[in-house]
């Protein structure tokens, strides 16, 4: 985030003065965002924990923290883009389980070379994503229904393929790699490198490409997006495919990390990922949110978890807190807009948005054909 804005200010200087680039000073633009609130909260919680929670300042804390939340961190990246287009993907955790199963089967049953097995597994993840994407963007089905379906489907396949079996005996070299540290004694695990690379890639894709602009436009007003030549179907297909591929990668990582492929691996992870993304300031209606905010959101949840475990607080309390944070994160802006009493027209618009996961077109005249109804999703 800061990187981009400093860049802007530089160009601002060299640009001719006809139109100011920004209405507000840089600092204000940075501070008056939800992302900033999340980052601030993250730092607050982090340093509070360092100061007050025994063992949190130990060298292992960050190492374990990153190891544990690596899958969520990975999955959150594509999920951000998917949600910004106003869609959702509930099937990522099941995809992870399925790819894990494929990895195990390919390596142990079919005796494929390990690298090939990994490629195959990630390929399966990609295929899962493509299937979601196809149903959503070309058959024009509501993504929440589709991915609830594939959530069950992919999980069921994983459990069916493996049954009671827990496949292990993956090559040491690879399982160790997942716990490798960047350098001896450093508290940063090696897995951070692929994460950072992907984070930058997705960041550029979302914030510094025409494709990314399209992603936001689809979320804000897909009809207008279509009128400016954004290929909505293709965009969504690509995003779901990416979500699948990354889920495949995460599945492989998780399998190697735990050293075993099981049908019941990484249950309910999807909700944690979505919680993190929404906490990071992404609007469930699409069109709003940034990647830095999401990364902060993921880390926030990770830090809270780790700190509270260290403090001997049972997991359910952590769940309560995260649940309330999630509710607060959407409730707070609403309360703010109420306080700063907006024009009725605007409030009415939010009103009609509010009670619905899609954004109904208020000004869009009669929309009696189910097609446009679907496109709105």
């Amino acid at each position: 985030m800061s990187a981009t804005t400093t860049k802007k200010t530089i160009d601002e200087a060299v640009d001719e003065r006809t139109y100011a680039s920004y209405a507000r000073p840089l600092l204000w633009r940075l501070v008056a965002t939800r992302e900033f609130a999340v980052v601030a909260l993250l730092l607050l919680v982090f340093f509070y924990s360092r100061a007050n929670i025994v063992g949190f300042d130990g060298p292992l804390t960050l190492y374990f923290l990153f190891l544990q939340s690596a899958p969520i961190m990975l999955l959150a990246l594509p999920m951000t883009l998917v949600i910004i287009t106003g869609e959702i993907d509930l099937s990522v955790a099941s995809t992870m389980a399925l790819t894990g199963a494929i990895l195990g089967i390919a390596y142990t049953k079919w005796d494929l070379p390990f690298v090939l097995s990994m490629v195959l597994a990630i390929g399966v993840g990609l295929a899962c994503g493509l299937f979601n994407g196809f149903l959503v963007s070309y058959v024009k089905l509501p993504s929440i229904a589709v991915t609830i379906g594939t959530l069950a489907l992919y999980r069921g396949l994983a459990q069916g393929f493996l049954g009671t079996e827990a496949i292990n005996g993956f090559p040491e070299k690879w399982t160790d790699l997942t716990k490798e540290r960047i350098s001896d004694g450093s508290s940063y695990p090696l897995v951070l490198i692929p994460f950072v690379v992907l984070a930058i890639a997705f960041g550029l894709l979302l914030h510094f490409s025409s494709f990314g602009r399209g992603v936001y436009e689809i979320g804000l007003n897909d009809e207008a997006a279509r009128f400016t030549g954004v290929d909505i179907a293709r965009t969504k297909l690509i995003l779901f495919a990416l979500a699948g591929a990354v889920a495949g990668l995460a599945g492989v990582y998780q399998t190697l990390y735990s050293g075993v492929a099981r049908g019941d691996a990484s249950q309910n992870l999807e909700l944690q990922v979505i919680a993190a993304v929404l906490l990071g300031g992404v609007s469930i209606f699409g069109g709003r949110g940034t990647l830095p905010g999401v990364v902060a959101g993921v880390l926030l949840i990770a830090v809270i978890n780790s700190a509270m475990r260290l403090d001997g607080i049972r997991t359910e309390v952590t769940d309560i807190i995260i649940g309330c944070l999630l509710v607060a994160s959407v409730l707070a802006p609403m309360l703010l807009t109420w306080v700063s009493g907006l024009a009725p027209g605007r409030v009415r618009r939010t009103a009609s948005r509010s009670s619905t996961p899609t954004e109904p077109s208020v000004t869009g005249g009669p929309s009696l054909d189910s097609k446009s109804a679907n496109e709105r999703q």
Partner: protein, 510 residues
């Protein structure tokens, strides 16, 4: 009974209504006219309780009122037909009509028989046959409008407000509606009737109020005024000087459309547009003009026919391809189609060209701003910074942003739908000057407009669309209001003249 005095309303930066004044007497039909964006619907929505007025007085049947919701206005005895039909697609036609006040039978359960019977009799009265049990989904604009009317009538309210109820209706349906309206008036109710069609105003109404740019202008008894007088008050200046189209030398064919058809929307449409030429596409609202434009641009698919630009065929159903081949399209619904109102001016203007702005695969806001500034400057877009969201702009400025977005692509054909709908007079003439200037530079322009003066003033050639077919092609010289209206309504010019004498029409329809 209804008495609005200097009521005002703004949406963010947009001042929809500056001083709306409207006094309606019981037992009369009151026409409310004004150009697009004059503030008519906004006024109506204040009466209906959709919006709360910012200032001004609002009395109904003597009492000072301030409706917080449409429910309140309904209870007070006001029925409203909104400009855009607001039906519930999944519910049956009957349920739509009686929503919220369905007749209850035994045990407080809805009495469907009674409901259907009432619906039937309503349709009987309106002289249409719609299956009251069918769902509202898939109804044509015309039928939706009929149901809105039935809904409003069935409320039997003291005041009935109709915002462009006849927009999508055909002759006979309009006559039936008028008959009903008259009977309601004779029962002593008050009616407000909004329309862009003068013949209807003169046919039906007793008094007429003119609005311009969100302000009250004047009220006449219909008998004491005339079309030219009203037009003059609506536009506030002589039609001639409003549209300064300078004759440019016409080049060779840019766009040619052959036998374009799309089931249920338009049929066998063929025409050409040449460089430096402005072709006006005229017709009644709902005739399917926008659909033709949308099909040419590729946002809608079409069943048969061909679209070629500079002799090269344009891939159907693919806006990207259309853009690449040099077509620009300013759609009619600015807030829904033209703009992403929630994103910034810069992002909107760069919306199309941004694909060519990336350096080393990276697209920066700085690059966009750089590319955007000259176009914003050229169209004199009024904004204090490029990162302001378009929501904060007035209708006129929003329109400039849309046009800037498309001019930035340096197109060879500009399709512009309702170029000046809902923008102030000043911006209006700016837009017109711009259009003719562009044509002068050899741009081919296809202009859709519901405003006859605009079409007649701007177009070198006028194509008239009726019921989805091109019914007339008129040169600037032969394009008189009568001819165009005649072709648009599928009647003969003399019938249009007749329509202006209220007396005779009443004989015809009664």
């Amino acid at each position: 009974m209804l008495d609005l005095d200097s009521v005002s309303k703004s949406f963010g930066a947009v001042r929809a209504l500056r001083s709306g004044t409207l006094k309606v007497a019981a037992g009369s039909i009151h026409a409310l006219i004004g150009e697009n964006g004059a503030g008519k619907s906004t006024l109506v929505k204040i009466v209906a309780g959709v919006h709360r007025r910012d200032a001004g007085t609002f009395r109904f049947q003597g009492r000072e009122v301030d409706f917080g919701s449409t429910a309140e206005s309904k209870d007070a005895g006001i029925a409203v037909i909104y400009q855009e039909p607001t039906l519930f697609p999944d519910l049956s036609v009957t349920e739509n009509i009686f929503m919220g006040r369905m007749p209850l039978g035994s045990a407080r359960r809805i009495d469907r028989q009674a409901m259907h019977r009432e619906a039937e009799s309503l349709f009987e009265r309106l002289g249409v046959r719609i299956d009251p049990k069918r769902p509202a989904r898939g109804l044509s604009i015309a039928d939706q409008q009929i149901i809105e009317i039935a809904k409003a009538i069935s409320l039997d309210a003291a005041l009935l407000v109709m915002d462009e109820p006849t927009a999508a209706l055909s002759g006979v349906e309009v006559d039936r509606l008028f008959a009903v309206a008259r009977s309601l008036r004779d029962e002593g109710r008050g009616l407000v009737f909004i329309s862009h069609r003068f013949d209807e105003v003169f046919d039906l109404c007793d008094t007429v109020t003119v609005m311009r740019d969100g302000a009250y202008i004047d009220t006449h008894r219909v008998a004491d005024t005339s079309v030219p007088a009203l037009v003059a008050q609506m536009v506030g200046r002589e039609v001639a000087e409003l549209f300064p189209k300078v004759p440019a030398e016409i080049g060779d064919v840019v766009l040619s459309v052959d036998g374009l058809s799309s089931a249920g929307v338009f049929r066998d449409v063929s025409f050409q547009v040449r460089a430096g030429e402005i072709v006006g596409l005229s017709g009644l609202v709902g005739a399917g003009r926008s659909e033709i434009a949308r099909a040419v641009f590729g946002v809608d698919r079409y069943d048969s026919g061909t679209v070629t630009l500079h002799g090269k065929p344009v891939k159907p159903g693919n806006p990207r391809a259309a853009i690449r081949s040099g077509i620009a399209f300013v759609p009619e619904d600015r807030r829904q189609q033209g703009l992403v109102v929630d994103s910034s001016v810069a992002h909107n203007v760069a919306g199309v060209i941004r694909r060519n702005l990336s350096k080393a695969g990276l697209l920066t806001t700085a690059a966009e701003n750089k590319a955007v500034r000259p176009w914003a400057a050229r169209l004199e877009v009024k904004t204090n910074a490029l990162d302001m969201p378009a929501t904060t702009m007035s209708g006129g400025n929003q329109q400039k942003v849309v046009i800037a977005k498309w001019l930035a692509t340096e197109p060879s054909l500009l399709i512009i739908d309702e170029p000046t709908r809902g923008i102030d007079v000043g911006t209006k003439s700016e837009v017109h000057r711009l259009l003719s200037e562009l044509a002068g530079q050899g741009l081919a322009v296809l202009m859709i407009s519901s405003e006859l003066p605009e079409v007649l003033g701007m177009a070198d050639r006028v194509l008239v669309v009726c019921e989805g077919r091109i019914t007339a092609e008129l040169d600037r010289s032969e394009a008189t209001p009568e001819n165009v209206m005649a072709a648009a309504t599928g009647t003969t010019p003399d019938r249009v003249h007749v329509a202006l004498e209220t007396q005779q029409v009443e004989e015809v329809t009664a």
